[in-house]
């Protein structure tokens, strides 16, 4: 049995890095760089993600002394990365916002789903029915089309697994507003998947 020595916690490394320990800073970078890159891809694009990644760790490096350890280091870092992604988007030309309303679920006059159970269930099999690469491309496209007010809470809550309370704190929203926006994002994305597998939502 291999016994690995316990890894130092993020908060300890952050304190050491703030005191000028470059090795501690490098450990934090190597611990989080892949996650922050993935987050940056989800909030911006593969083209912009490298810049967001650099900007995030530059801000971390410059502001380590202001990290008090009263929140988790990961939460603090995600907040910086999310802000860096938003700033990056703001600096780009505005893309036309598409509410993707055509993908919302449909109901008849009595409020009953118009699709059959088989049709309604089909989007959950999108990964079996579509080529993996094609699905990845479509996923990137649809995230980019989603208005930021839905994209940010959806990415943080559902793709990065933050809690509703954490997302609310990060985006300056009420938890109820986070729940509502995440819900609407899921409805639109579900309908989009439905369309991809050949069923009108």
């Amino acid at each position: 049995m291999v016994v690995t020595p316990a890894e130092p916690g993020d908060e300890l490394l952050a304190a050491q890095a703030a005191a000028g320990d470059d090795h501690a800073f490098e450990q934090l970078v190597s611990r989080y760089e892949a996650r922050i890159y993935r987050l940056a891809c989800r909030l911006t694009s593969e083209t912009e993600a490298p810049d967001v990644l650099q900007e995030t760790f530059l801000q971390v490096y410059r502001n380590l002394r202001t990290f008090r350890g009263d929140s988790r280091f990961g939460t603090w870092l995600y907040r910086i990365a999310t802000n860096a992604a938003m700033m990056n988007r703001r600096a780009r030309a505005r893309r036309p916002s598409e509410p993707l309303d055509q993908f919302l679920p449909r109901f008849d006059a009595r409020g009953v789903h118009t699709g059959t159970p088989e049709e309604l269930q089909l989007p959950s099999r999108a990964d079996e029915l579509l080529d993996r690469q094609a699905l990845a491309e479509r996923a990137r496209e649809v995230l980019a089309r989603l208005p930021d007010m839905y994209r940010d809470p959806f990415v943080l809550r559902d793709l990065e697994d933050l809690s509703t309370a954490e997302v609310a704190g990060m985006l300056g929203l009420d938890p109820a507003a986070v729940r509502q926006r995440v819900h609407r994002a899921r409805l639109m994305l579900r309908g989009y998947l439905s369309d991809l597998v050949g069923v009108r939502p």
């Binding site: 970078v29 593969e46 490096y61 409020g111 059959t116 089909l122 990964d127 996923a139 729940r179 998947l193």
Partner: protein, 78 residues
């Protein structure tokens, strides 16, 4: 409360999953879904959506981007 139909059930779905509904609304929703194949199928695909998008956007950090990040950060420190 009023009987739940599919459209109201869908509106309440995330609040249901997040556990913020009152017990009576929750029970009414459970009762509707238990007898509605459409809602059961819808909920299945609704819950699958985040998982599918998460897997489909699971980008790995390319080596060249990792190298340039580290070189950039070293340059900032010197």
């Amino acid at each position: 409360m009023k009987d739940i139909v599919c459209v109201t059930g869908v509106e309440l779905l995330n609040d249901y999953l997040e556990g913020v509904l009152t017990a009576d609304v929750r029970a009414a929703l459970d009762a509707h879904v238990a007898g509605c194949q459409r809602c059961a199928a819808f909920i299945d695909s609704y819950r699958a959506t985040p998982r599918l998008l998460k897997e489909a956007t699971d980008a790995a950090l390319p080596d060249d981007i990792q190298r340039s990040l580290r070189a950039f950060l070293r340059a900032q420190r010197h």
